[in-house]
Structure formats: C-alpha cells, structure tokens
C-alpha cells in the first residue's frame, strides 16, 4: 500500500510536488465528525476541507517538530512552529496509528533526521467490502466472511465421530418407525379382535407383537443413549480443550483488560451448552422431525379428512414459536450476563477476601452480591415465566386439534363411515404428533442457548494473539545473550506510552539493574524482553535478531524469570522446580535447589521434595517460595535472566540468602534486575535509571553517585534517610 494512494486525484494535482504522505482525518478542526485531507510533500504540509478548499498550508522549514497528542477517544496532530503550536488535524482513535506516523515523519523532516519507514502496523485496516475495521493480525473481515455460520462451525466438532453418529441416526430411524407400530396394532386389536369378538389366536398374536415392539424399542433406546453419552462426553472434552488452548495462546494484554474469573465459567458452562445442542439437540430434533413426517403419512393413510382437522392448529403453533424465538434468545443473553456478573463478583471478592476482611466490608460485599443476585432472580423469573407460559399454551392449542378429531371422528364412527379402531389410532397418533411439536420450544431454548455460548466461545478462539509468531521463525539455537533496545516505545494503552523511545545495548553476560520510581516503566521494560507485549515502535533485538521473528517457544527457553509475586502451581516442590524442565532428574532438582539456598529447608520439611504446595498444600513463607522460584529459574538454565523485585518481601537474613543464591545464578548470564532496595543491585555491572518511561542515567553505582544532581543519587539519599528512620523505630 503506497501512502499517497489515498489522496484524491483533484487534491494531488494542486500539489507542487509528489506527496510523501496523504491521509484522511475523520474529524473536523472543531471536533465534529467529517473529513479533512492532510498531505505532506518535501517542502509543505497542506490541509483541505471536505469540499477541497484549502484550510492550512505550512512550510516544512517553518516547523520545529510535530507531535501526535493522544486524548480520550481521539487525538490531535500538532506542528510546533516558531510562532507556537498549530493544529494540523484531529482524528478519532481509529486513526491514531496513521497520524502517529505522520507526526514522526513531520518531526523527522523538520529536524532533518532519518525518516521513519512505514510499516503495515501504522495503518488502520478496513475491510475492502464493508469498510468496517479489521482486527489486528488478520486480513479476514469478520463481518463479510463469517456469515453467521456459527452452527455449521459448531457441528464441525462432530466430524471425528461420524461413524457413531451415523449409527445413532440409523437406530433413531428404526426406533421411530417401531414406535409407530403399537397404535396400529391397537387399531387391529379393536377393529378385528375386540369389535367382532373374534376369540381366535389373533389376540395373542397382537399382544405378542406389542410386547416385541416394546422390547425392541427399549433395547434400541439403550444403545442410542450409550452412544450419545459417549459422543457427548468426547465432544465436550474436545471443546473444552480448544477453548482452554485458545485462552493459553492469547497474549497477556488480553487478560490485562478482563477479569479472569469469568473464563472459568466460560470454559465449562459454554462448552456444556454447545455439547447439549450438538448431541441431544441435533439428535432429538432429527428424530422428532422424522417422527412427525411418518405420523402424517400414516394418518393420511388412515383417514385424510380427519387428518386435515388435526393439522389446523399446527400453523398457530409454528407462528407462536417464531414470535417467541427472538425474545428467548435475548432473555438468554440477559440471563447469561447476570450469571456472569454474579460469578465475577464472587470471584473478585474471594480473591480479595483478605482486603474485604481487613476493612470489615463483608456487609457491603454481601449487599453488592445481593443486588446482582436479585437481578438474576428477576431475569430467571422472566425467563422461566416465559417457559411456564409456553408449555400450557402449546398443550392447549394441541388439545384443540384433538377435540376437533373427537367431534368429527365421533360423528363418522356413529354414522358408520369409519371404524372405532381407526378413530382410536388417529387419536393416539395425534398425541404422538403434538409431543414433538411441544418440543420445538425446548429445541428453541437449546439452540439459542447453544448459539449464544458458541458466539462467546468462538469469540475467544477468534481473538488473534497480540504477539503473533511469525510464519518462519528464525532458529536461534542457544543464544549468547546480547540484548538491544532500539528506540522502543510502548504503552498498555496505545495513546499512553509507558516507555518512550528507549535505546539500550546490553552485552552478553552483563548484569543490568533497573532503577526508578514506581511507574517509571521498569516492569514494562522486562515485560517487553519476555515479549509479553510487542513494542508499539522500535524493536528489541537478541543477538541481533528481532524478537518478533523468533518463535516464542524458543525465546522463552532462553529467558528465566523470578518475579516479586512467586506463583507456585498446585503440585509438589519438585514438580514446581522442574516446571520448565519436566524431565529433570532428582539430582538436577536438588542441585538447583542447593544453588538457590533452598535445599536445606526443603529437606527439613516432613515431606521433603514431595511436599505439596500451591493452593491447598503446605504453606511456604515468602522467602521460601522465592527460593523455590529461583531454583525453578536455575534449572531452566536461561541465557537471559530477569529478576523483578525478587527480594522485596523478605527479611534481611532471608534476603542475604536469596542474594547469595542470585549471585550464583547470574554468573555468565545476561541479567536484568529490578529492586527497590538499591543495595540489592550492588553487583550490577551497570545501572539504568528510568524516569517517566525514559532512560535518564546509565552507569555504575559509583559513577552515578558522583552526579551531584542525579536522579540515582537522590534515590540513594532518600533510601538512606528512610533506613535511618527505620533504625530509630527499630
């Protein structure tokens, strides 16, 4: 995509030179929706209104710099001139990236620096057909291609079980046909045996026939049921697996923006709803359809006139179903949202139960819960109320048909037009017919519930990872450990960068301490090395290779992390240490623990390395957990090591032990360490001081201390003050 293509021909002709850049802004200068055109040439910047009248023209030589100022929901492209800043264009956030690029380009031109290169990420991407925004990392438009084929997609899950499902179908047809036999035998019984009082062997034969069909039906239903359960459970397993693996595949950024407790419900209940539809739903529906058709054929064969009466209520029932269908779908969604809110509430307050208790807010939590609970109750009543209305209504309408047959059929029997048995058979077939029709409503509920669930499940599956792997990742093998930041800018929200234009080169084996106030961007810095997030601008290189072109599996093999909040999984200590290397031998595990200063305390535990830790196991202290985490990093044997406040929450003695362990760990590895206690970073080869997302100082401890007015020096002084106070208090 060439960047000047977008400019209308008319406007391009008015330019003295070929445009370097052209873009349409979607807001006017006064902030209203509208269109304005911006074009940049070698010597000028021009802005036109929608009717192609020129609004603004600036010479590049007048510019000092240009900025894209982000705001909420939109932004402004500003040019700094000798006479103060000038607004070039305003835009909504859909266009932030493209005007961000424009700002960089103009800034570089004004300052005569190297010009930025356009990358595809700089452009908001729209679908060619419908003009709706495309989500990142995909070229496929959700609106144009996915024509509501959710059901088809859902049914694709049944593919591996074709054989079993085919068998179910055959059995189904057979049972359905067999089910139709008893009413017919009843007719024979009444008309040929009971009516004429035929005391022959026919009675016995008919009864035997009835018995045989009953037995056959039971056997077939059992087999069908067993297959159904088997296929259903397998399907459910497949679905859950897919949902869970899509969750694992998603980037951290996805989880940052959502409450995680919601996913527990999603993985389980949504896949259950889909399973129910696919096995019970589809099987049931086809069975009932088949039955309806067969019953009609037989009824028409018995007496077509009476059958017509029976059909009279059917259109009414279909009409009722049709009007209620959309209503039910909406109410399901409402109900689901209420349940969802309730679950999130419980999840949240249980996770924060310590805070709740500490502030004595149990009552308020209960009130909050109660509010959501009442809401759910209300929704439930509305939903179920609709149900309780539907069933009797259907039964009543169906009953009307029966009445019609009784009346007309009765007359016919009295006038001798038909035999009593035929009437009885018709009545029982009719009963069988309205059964399935009532089930339509159940089917509606299943189907709409499943569709809603499927939408949510596929939503997770379709969300592209924000840190996608390239198609042909470069094999990196074992790396040396050179890490370079090349003018990196990143923000969790795009318009609010946390790291701004950070450049740093770290040699293999070097230990770098990251220092700065909270919120300075230290954690973001290391999150980017781990590639939890991708840079918005600039690149991170490991041994000269862009992080983005390395597969994440390879990358993570080279990186070890010890975080402030140690998370131990449910399992034994040994399993936790061997988390990144499941095939580690017991000796390796012990060696790692020894280096981490953890071996001694572990062995002293009654269950030793087999002590269960995690949510329901043995409670380790903060320092002990930390050392287990360090052992985990040691066994991983990474080339790049990241320590994020690894000693923040422990006492001095434990810190000394952990320090010792860390100093053994960092040997020969490129290490990035964050610590609030600056003394922890004594061993660092270099300290990097971050402030407001920018690197302000780099140097050794001594070098930085020499700077009279340096940021680092101030930090150190402040900590000395603090420890003095602490000394007094102690």
């Amino acid at each position: 995509m060439s960047i000047q293509d977008q400019l209308p021909e008319q406007l391009r002709k008015r330019l003295a030179e070929d445009p370097l850049f052209g873009a349409k802004a979607d807001l006017l200068h006064d902030g209203r929706f509208g269109e304005q055109w911006l074009a940049i040439t070698e010597h000028e910047v021009s802005v036109w209104q929608q009717d192609h009248t020129q609004l603004l023209k600036l010479k590049i030589s007048e510019l000092k710099d240009a900025r894209a100022v982000g705001a909420v929901g939109g932004g402004t492209l500003l040019a700094d001139t000798g006479k103060g800043p000038v607004v070039l264009a305003r835009y909504t956030s859909a266009q932030s990236s493209i005007f961000g690029f424009a700002a960089k380009l103009l800034g570089a031109m004004a300052k005569k620096e190297e010009r930025p290169v356009v990358s595809e990420r700089d452009f908001p991407r729209y679908c060619q057909n419908c003009g709706n925004p495309l989500s990142e990392g995909t070229q496929i438009c959700q609106i144009c291609t996915r024509n509501g084929k959710v059901a088809a997609r859902m049914l694709r899950y049944t593919k591996p079980y074709k054989l079993q499902l085919a068998a179910t179908a055959v059995l189904l047809i057979a049972t359905t046909l067999v089910e139709l036999v008893p009413p017919y035998l009843t007719k024979v019984l009444i008309d040929d045996v009971l009516g004429p009082k035929d005391v022959g062997s026919t009675l016995m034969l008919v009864i035997l026939g009835l018995g045989a069909t009953m037995l056959l039906m039971s056997v077939m239903q059992t087999i069908r049921g067993l297959i159904g359960v088997w296929v259903g459970s397998k399907l459910m397993g497949d679905l859950r697996k897919d949902v869970y693996s899509s969750l694992m595949r998603l980037s951290l950024a996805f989880f940052d923006r959502r409450q995680t407790s919601q996913f527990i419900g999603r993985v389980n209940s949504d896949s259950e709803a889909m399973r129910q539809f696919m096995t019970d739903g589809v099987v049931f529906m086809s069975a009932e359809m088949l039955r309806v058709v067969a019953i009609f054929i037989i009824m028409f064969g018995l007496d077509w006139q009476l059958t017509l009466y029976a059909i009279l209520p059917v259109p009414v029932m279909v009409a009722v179903s049709m009007t209620i269908w959309p209503k039910i779908g909406r109410r399901w969604y409402h109900q689901w949202r209420s349940i969802f809110r309730l679950n999130t509430l419980v999840g949240d307050s249980l996770q924060g139960i310590r805070v709740v208790k500490a502030f004595g807010r149990e009552r308020d939590e209960m009130a909050r819960y109660n509010e959501a609970n009442v809401e759910l109750v209300r929704r439930n009543i509305r939903m179920e109320g609709l149900w309780s209305f539907m069933f009797p209504a259907f039964a009543f309408i169906a009953g009307l048909g029966t009445l019609l047959i009784w009346y007309n059929g009765g007359n016919k029997v009295l006038s001798g037009e038909i035999q009593l048995g035929v009437l009885m058979a018709l009545i029982s077939y009719l009963g069988m017919l309205f059964g399935p029709l009532q089930w339509i409503s159940q089917m509606i509920s299943w189907a709409s519930n499943a569709m809603a669930a499927a939408h949510r499940v596929f939503e997770i599956m379709d969300t592209p990872s924000e840190v996608p792997d390239v198609r042909n990742p470069e094999p990196i093998g074992v790396i040396k450990g050179d890490v370079a930041f090349d003018s990196v800018t990143y923000g969790y929200e795009k318009h609010h960068p946390v790291l701004k234009n950070v450049s740093l080169h770290v040699k293999a084996g070097e230990m770098v301490g990251l220092v700065g106030h909270s919120g300075a961007g230290k954690s973001t810095f290391i999150n980017l090395i781990c590639r939890f997030y991708d840079t918005d601008e600039g690149a991170i290189l490991i041994d000269g290779t862009d992080l983005r072109s390395i597969s994440q599996v390879d990358l993570r093999k080279q990186i070890g992390v010890v975080l402030q909040e140690t998370f131990l999984f449910d399992g034994t200590i040994a399993e936790n240490i061997a988390y990144s290397k499941p095939d580690a031998t017991p000796l390796e595990i012990m060696r790692a623990a020894k280096i981490a200063n953890a071996h001694d305390f572990i062995v002293r535990l009654p269950d030793g390395y087999d002590t269960r830790v995690g949510e329901r196991g043995h409670k380790l202290s903060g320092g002990e957990k930390q050392r287990v985490a360090i052992a985990r990093a040691i066994i991983h044997d990474p080339r790049i090591l990241i320590l994020d406040e690894a000693t923040a929450s422990v006492d001095t003695e434990t810190e000394r032990q952990i320090q010792e362990a860390i100093s053994r760990l960092v040997k020969g590895r490129t290490t990035f360490a964050i610590a609030h206690r600056l003394s922890t970073l004594r061993n660092a080869d270099r300290l990097v001081v971050l402030e407001r997302g920018k690197i302000v100082e780099v140097g050794t401890h001594e070098q930085l201390l020499e700077k009279e007015d340096g940021v680092y020096r101030k930090l150190v002084d402040a900590q000395k003050e603090l420890s003095k106070i602490k000394g007094v208090e102690g």
Binding site: F33, V72, V87, R146, H455
Partner: protein, 168 residues
C-alpha cells in the same frame, strides 16, 4: 502561590488565577498565576461522574499546575475555551438517536446520530463494550477505541428506546 509551597496539596484555582484562550494555531493556551503557557493540557479527574468539575490543568510535560473546581465559576471567556478544549480532548459524542442496533455475524453494529454527526460503532460483544456509570447513562466503546455516550437512554425518542431495550 501559597498553596504551591506544599507539593503534596492539591492546588485549587480561583477564577482570578487562570485565563484560558486559543492560540492562532488552534491550540489551547492560557495565563496561569501570571505565567504564560502557549500550550496547556486539561484532564477530567472524574470523567464519568463530574464532567464539568475537577479539571486538572497541566503543562506539556504533564505536571499539574492545579485544579479547576468547577467550570461554571470561571469567567465566561475562559470557561468557553476550557469547555471547547475538553470536548476536543474527550472525544465522546453524545448520542441523540439510535438508528439501529444489529448483530451481524458475531459483531454488534450500532448506527448512531450524535451531537457531532452520525457514526457507526462496531463491538465484539455487549458485556465488554458497554459501561453503566449510573442513572440512565451508558458509555459505548467500539473495537477501535472510539467512544460515545448516551446521557440518559430513557430520555431518548421512542425509536431509539426500542432499539436499546433489546440490548441494555
């Protein structure tokens, strides 16, 4: 500058402390405590609850100069410029009519009329893209980050209410 001595106190501006205007380049600027700034940034401290109160005024470095307790107390000219700047900075068009809300292959499409013109919003679902700060207010966010606001959905016309009833 009495309050500025204590840098841990919030500086509240009186109407006489500030004068806001717009530069020739269309940029918000002003004179604060006698100092001229040719570019100022404004932030709402409570964008949902108090849209015209507690406005934080900052220089281009992002340092807070002080807080305007209530726009209504300012002199008319300053208040007008500040309001205009807030509207530009917080680009949240107010919905005047909901033309339609449709679900199309997993995406919700909203056709809206706002006080700043008509627009379309695209959402992946309703539970993550709608916020209810209280009252009848609804904040809509679409997948590109664009926002719109419905001040009170029950006060909209009948057609809009009908569209909304199904989704709120």
């Amino acid at each position: 500058m009495a309050a500025a001595d204590d840098k841990y106190d919030i500086r509240m501006f009186a109407p006489d402390d500030v004068y806001f205007s717009r530069g020739s380049g269309g940029v918000f600027q002003g004179v604060i405590d006698g100092t001229t700034y040719d570019e100022l940034e404004v932030y709402r401290a409570f964008p949902f609850l108090y849209t015209t109160q507690y406005i934080s005024v900052r220089n281009t470095k992002g340092e807070e100069l002080g807080i305007i307790p209530d726009i209504a107390e300012l002199y008319e000219e300053s208040a007008k410029e500040l309001e205009k700047e807030l509207q530009l900075r917080y680009f949240i068009p107010r919905v005047t009519r909901v033309d339609s809300v449709k679900q199309k292959s997993g995406l919700w499409m909203w056709e809206l009329q706002t006080h700043l013109g008509s627009t379309r919003m695209v959402m992946r679902n309703l539970h993550e893209h709608l916020q209810y700060p209280g009252g009848g207010r609804v904040i809509l966010m679409d997948i590109s980050g664009k926002r719109c606001e419905i001040a009170d959905w029950q006060a909209l016309d009948a057609h809009s209410r009908k569209q909304l009833e199904e989704v709120l």
